[in-house]
Amino acid sequence: MVTTPEARTRADALAAASAASADATPARSTARRDGHPAPSSPSRLNGRPRGARKTGERDRPLWMLAPGGILMVIVILVPLVLGLVISLMDLDQYTLRQWVSAPFIGISNYVEALTKSSLIQSIGISVGYSVLVTLVCLPIGVAAALATQNRFRGRGLVRSLFLVPYVLPTFVVGTVWRTMLQPDGVGNAMLANFGIDGGLWLNGPQSYWALVFVQIWASWPFIYLLVLSGLQSVDAEVHEASALDGAGWWTKLRYVILPYLKGPITLALIISFLHSVNNFTLPFVLFGIPAPADVNVLPVLTYITGFQNFRFGLSAAMAVVSLILIAIPLFIYLRAVKLDTGEDGGSRVRK
C-alpha cells in the first residue's frame, strides 16, 4: 500500500531519466504527478542536466536505477496492484478460470475479512509473536555480538557456528523442530530428564510457544550479525577514552557502546519483525494445515483462505489489511528514527 506511490515515483524517475526508455507511459505520468515544480525536476524531465546547483547534479546517472527499478515494478508492484484489484473481486473456484471477468464487489471482501473471519485474531497472534520474538532476540543477539567482539582462540569458529541456525533453510528448521517437538520426540525426552512433562508442542496453546521458540532460535543470529557489524564502527579512540576514564564495563557498555548501536539495532528490529510477521514456511512446516488456532498466523490464514478455500478475493483483502496495519506503523516509525535519511545525496560529508 504504502510502497506503491513512492516506488512508482522512483520508477517514473528512472523511466524519465533514461532517454532510451522503451515505455513512455510512466514518463508522462511523471510529468503529471510532479506538477509542483521542484528545483531538480526540470532537469530530470529533460533527461539532461541543466542547472548544476549541486556538484552531484551535473550528470546524475539515474539510468543506473533502471534495471532494479524495472524489476521491482514488474515483479513486485504490478503484482501488488493486481493483488489489490483481486481484493475487490469475487474471485473463487467458480470464477477463477475467467478471473479477468470475475465480478467486482467493491469492499465486500474487506468487510467480510474484518467482521466475519478470524483476521483480527490472526493479526493479534502475528504481531504479538513477532514482537515477542524480536524482543527476545535482541538481548541474545547483542550479548552474542559483545561476546565475540574480542579476539580469543577459536573466535572465527564460534562466529561461524552462531550463524548456522540463521543460514539453515527455513523448511529444514521446520522439519527438524517438527521431529524434535513430537509428543514422543527428543524435545520431550530431554525435558523428562528434568522431570518436566513437556506435553503437546504442535497442537493446542503450547504450539504458540513452540513457534516463538523456534523462530527465536532461527532468527537471533541476524540481530547478532547486524550488531556485530555495528560494533566495528566504534572507533578505537572511544575504547581508549573510556579506559582512561576508568569506566566499568557496564557503564562503558551502557553509555559509550550502546549509543553506537542504535542504528544497526533499529534496522535489525525492523527486519527481524517483518521476517517473523511474513514467515509462512515455518508455521506451515511445523504445524501443517489446518493450523491450531493458537498459531493461525497471518500468512497461514491468507494461504488457507486463498489456496485451500479458493477465496482468492477474500485472501487478497486480508493480506492488504494486514499490510496496511503493519506498514503504516512501520512507516511512521521509520520517519521517527530517521534510519533512512543518512546523508543527503549531493550534500557534503555529514558531520
Partner: protein, 449 residues
C-alpha cells in the same frame, strides 16, 4: 500423401503394440475410431507421487510413455505432486493461467472442486466412448465423477478404499471370531482387547487427513450426508454423536494409546505394526507393504469397517451402508488442452482390464475397471474385504464447497486436541466448535454456483 502413410504406419504400430500388450479386443472400442496421429506431440500428465514405490513408479512412467508412443507417436511426460496442497495449487495455477498438464489424476475428493472451476472437460457420450465406454468402470467408482450422470468430468482411474486392519492373533486369543460390523460392537471388542500396553484401536488424532473420514462415515451411516441439498448439516445430532464417539475412544473408553493425540496416520500404523494395537481402522491396501515387513506379518487381516452408526444395532432409515469414502483417483482432462483426443486415448489405454491389473500388481491399488475388479475378487481372498469396501464406498457430497466442509470437520478435531490431552472433550465444546464450522461451511455452500 506422406502424412497418410505415416498415419497408416502408426496405426499398424499401434495395433502391434496392442496385441503385444495383450489388450483384449473388446476392451478397446476406441480402435473403431480412426487412429490418432500424435507424432511430435507431447501429453503432460500430472499424477500423485507414489512414495511407497518410487522406483516402480518411474519405471511405470517409462513403460506407459513407450507404449503410448508406439501407439500414437505422442510423448507422455509425467509430473508428480506430493501432497494435497501441491495438488490444489497446481489445479489453481493451471486454471487461472489456462496452461498446464493435459491430464490430471486427481484425488477423488478434489473432483468436485475441479468440476466447480469449469476448467475440465465435461464428458459427452462420445468422450466416454473414446475412453472405452462408461460401463467399462465399476458402478461404485463412478460415484464421484460428477454431480449427476449427464455432468461428469472424472474418469475413474483407481480405487483406494479405506478398510480396517486387525491383528488375527489377538482376536483369536480373546475368542473374537471376526470384527464387529457396528461401531458399538467394535468398541466392545476393543475394550476386551485393551490390556497392559496393548490397545484395542490405533487412531491418529493428530493427522490432518484421517479424522474427518470417521465423522463423515458415521454421519452418513446415520443418515446425514453432511451436505444435504443447499444445507450444510454439520450441527446435526448424529454428527455430534460421531465426534463424541471418536473422541470418547480416547477420553472415556480408553481403548487407544493416549500418545495418539499427536499421531499422524503413519505413527498409528507403526503402532499397529509393532503389535501394540488390535484394530487399525482407516487404512488402505497400500499398508500391505508396511505390515508384511513388520512384527505382525502373517498375523493380520483386513475387514470392512463398521457400517452401523454409533448407538444403533441396525442402520437407521436413510442411513447409507458407507464402508468408506469413495477414495482413489479420477482422471480429468483440462479444457485448455490442445490434445484432448490424445488424452482420452491415453486414459483408454490406462483403464483397460489388463493395464489396471498390471497397475494393481505393481502398486497394490484396486482397479476401477469392472472386469479387472471381478477377476481380482475371484482370485484373492485376502483382498476380498478391500474389493467389498470398494463396492460399499460412497462418494462425498458433490459440491464445490466440499473442500471447506472437509477442512471444517478436520478443524474441529485439530482444535480439540488440547482438550483431548487434558482428558475430556465435552459435548458443549463439540457443539460450539461445530456451530462455528457450520456457519463457515454454510456460507461457503451459499456461494456455490
Amino acid at each position: 500423401m506422406m502424412k497418410r502413410k505415416l498415419v497408416l504406419t502408426t496405426a499398424l504400430l499401434a495395433a502391434g503394440a496392442l496385441t503385444l500388450a495383450g489388450c483384449s479386443s473388446e476392451a478397446a472400442p476406441g480402435d473403431s475410431a480412426k487412429p490418432l496421429d500424435g507424432a511430435g506431440k507431447t501429453l503432460n500428465v500430472l499424477t500423485d507421487a507414489n512414495t511407497l514405490y518410487p522406483e516402480e513408479q518411474q519405471k511405470w512412467f517409462a513403460d506407459v510413455s513407450e507404449q503410448f508412443k508406439a501407439k500414437t507417436g505422442a510423448q507422455v511426460k509425467f509430473e508428480t505432486f506430493a501432497t494435497a496442497n501441491d495438488e490444489l495449487t497446481k489445479i489453481q495455477t493451471s486454471v487461472v493461467s489456462g496452461q498446464g498438464p493435459d491430464i490430471y489424476s486427481l484425488g477423488t475428493t478434489f473432483t468436485p472442486t475441479a468440476y466447480a472451476t469449469g476448467a475440465f472437460v465435461k464428458l459427452s457420450e462420445d468422450d466416454w466412448k473414446k475412453v472405452g465406454g462408461r460401463d467399462r468402470f465399476t458402478e461404485a467408482s463412478l460415484g464421484i465423477s460428477g454431480p449427476d450422470k449427464d455432468n461428469e468430468v472424472g474418469i475413474p482411474a483407481r480405487s483406494r478404499p479405506f478398510v480396517m486392519a486387525y491383528n488375527t492373533e489377538m482376536l483369536a486369543a480373546a475368542g473374537i471370531d471376526k470384527p464387529a460390523d457396528t461401531w458399538d460392537g467394535l468398541l466392545e471388542q476393543a475394550k476386551k482387547l485393551t490390556h497392559d500396553d496393548v490397545y484395542g484401536l490405533s487412531i491418529a488424532y493428530g493427522d490432518n487427513f484421517d479424522p474427518w473420514k470417521f465423522i463423515w462415515a458415521m454421519s452418513t451411516q446415520a443418515g446425514n450426508p453432511i451436505i444435504d441439498g443447499k444445507k450444510v448439516r454439520l450441527d446435526d445430532p448424529v454428527t455430534i454423536k460421531a465426534y463424541e464417539t471418536y473422541f470418547g475412544w480416547l477420553t472415556k473408553d480408553k481403548v487407544v494409546n493416549p500418545a495418539s493425540i499427536g499421531w499422524k496416520a503413519s505413527q498409528a500404523l507403526a503402532s499397529f505394526a509393532d503389535g501394540k494395537a488390535a484394530f487399525m481402522p482407516m487404512v488402505t491396501a497400500t499398508s500391505i507393504n508396511t505390515l508384511d515387513a513388520s512384527a505382525v506379518a502373517g498375523k493380520y487381516a483386513y475387514a470392512v469397517m463398521p457400517t452401523i452408526p454409533p448407538g444403533d444395532t441396525t442402520r437407521p432409515a436413510g442411513g447409507k451402508e458407507a464402508a468408506s469414502i469413495l477414495s482413489g483417483s479420477n482422471f480429468v482432462v483440462a479444457d485448455y488442452s490442445k490434445n484432448k483426443d490424445l488424452s482420452f486415448a491415453l486414459i483408454e489405454m490406462l483403464t483397460t482390464a489388463e493395464a489396471q491389473k498390471v497397475y494393481y500388481e505393481t502398486f497394490g491399488e484396486m482397479p476401477t475397471n469392472a472386469d479387472a475388479a471381478a477377476a481380482l475378487e475371484k482370485d484373492n481372498e485376502k483382498l476380498a474385504p478391500i474389493v467389498a469396501a470398494s463396492k460399499l464406498s460412497v462418494g462425498t457430497p458433490f459440491s464445490g464447497a466440499w473442500g471447506d466442509v472437509q477442512l471444517g470437520m478436520t478443524n474441529v478435531v485439530v482444535q480439540a486436541i488440547p482438550s483431548l490431552n487434558s482428558g475430556s472433550v465435552t459435548t458443549d465444546q463439540i457443539v460450539s466448535a461445530l456451530k462455528t464450522e457450520q456457519e463457515k461451511a454454510q456460507s461457503a455452500l451459499d456461494r456455490a454456483k
